[in-house]
């Protein structure tokens, strides 16, 4: 009789312990999921507007074919991909690189004491990478924007991706 009573008490204790273990495991899983949730690369209106405005920026490169108009960044990306030169003989890729570098340096000033710690801009097509500009530290907390545009003549897709990290 005494043995049976003891056994019943033990079963209750084991049951209680099992409940605690089960809830603890569920809690741990929940904690792990919520802590590992990627908090980086938040879509930002500011970064998005920056990309849109950058693509419209007029460079010093004049088109060598047809009307000698000054090319926007978006047009010069097409020229660079074709390895074309500007009307004055300058390399379109060089102009693209220098202009974007200047635009980025003035717009996203980085440093230890500044809110921006680093940035990265990548331009590529379906097949190859055209440009990659990276400055500072790419931390875990980044604002990112991605845009696609295509050239009407060749129907080739171009992708521009920019992230600014704080």
């Amino acid at each position: 009789m005494k043995n049976k009573k003891n056994k019943s008490g033990q079963e209750e204790m084991i049951g209680f312990a099992l409940i605690i273990i089960l809830v603890s495991v569920i809690l741990l899983i929940f904690l792990a999921i919520s802590l590992n949730r990627p908090k980086t690369e938040i879509e930002s209106y500011e970064v998005n507007s920056f990309l849109q405005s950058t693509l419209q920026y007029t460079t010093s490169c004049q088109s060598s074919s047809g009307a000698e108009k000054y090319q926007a960044i978006q047009d010069i990306i097409f020229e660079c991909e074709l390895e074309d030169k500007c009307a004055n003989g300058e390399d379109s890729c060089k102009v693209l690189n220098e202009t974007l570098d200047g635009l980025l340096k003035e717009s996203w000033q980085i440093g230890e004491s500044r809110p921006n710690k680093g940035y990265e801009l990548i331009i590529n097509t379906d097949e190859s990478q055209i440009l990659n500009i990276k400055e500072g530290n790419i931390t875990k907390s980044c604002k990112e924007s991605f845009q696609t545009f295509s050239k009407s003549r060749t129907k080739k897709n171009f992708f521009i991706n920019f992230k600014a990290c704080s």
Partner: protein
């Protein structure tokens, strides 16, 4: 003897139930704490988003936007239009308030960089860095815009669209 034993059983059960309840309450509190921890960040992000939307709405309004002259691009401000708007800004007032109901609007050129932080007027129109449409105080929201104007190439005698990078700053009073 028998009733005492069952009383003990009931007491045991009651303690067990209390322990389980306390345990689940603690678990619930922990989950709630984790859930609410990102609330402040979310509120800040929402505030930022609203401010950006206000600025973008302003930049894309007919008084500022590039429209068909510059192939109707988004986030593009017609600099010529804004310059004329500055000269006629008093016409956009109703009583004490301006048309946009904001406390300040400024447009700044970012690139190409102009080391002199000069306010634009008819004499330095192409070589200035700032247009203050409405000067005022308040919470500031800013966004990148493309500043486009018609330029004339005197060497080649051609007129072309010149777009530079700028920022539009809107100052507004916080809602009570």
């Amino acid at each position: 003897m028998k009733p005492k034993k069952s009383q003990m059983k009931i007491q045991q059960m009651a303690f067990m139930l209390i322990a389980v309840m306390v345990f689940f309450a603690l678990v619930g509190l922990l989950i709630a704490a984790i859930g609410f921890s990102g609330l402040k960040e979310k509120a800040t992000a929402l505030q930022e988003k609203n401010a950006m939307l206000l600025v973008s709405k302003l930049a894309n309004s007919p008084e500022f936007s590039c429209g068909e002259d510059f192939k109707s691009q988004e986030n593009c401000i017609d600099f010529d239009k804004v310059f004329i708007l500055k000269e006629n800004i008093n016409k956009y007032k109703t009583g004490n308030k301006n048309f946009w109901r904001v406390s300040g609007i400024e447009i700044i050129k970012i690139y190409p960089k102009n080391s002199n932080f000069i306010e634009c007027n008819s004499n330095n129109y192409q070589d200035c860095s700032k247009i203050t449409l409405i000067s005022g105080q308040g919470i500031s929201a800013e966004n990148f815009v493309s500043l486009c104007r018609k330029e004339f190439d005197s060497e080649k005698f051609i007129s072309y669209d010149k777009c530079e990078l700028g920022k539009i700053l809107v100052k507004y009073e916080k809602a009570q």
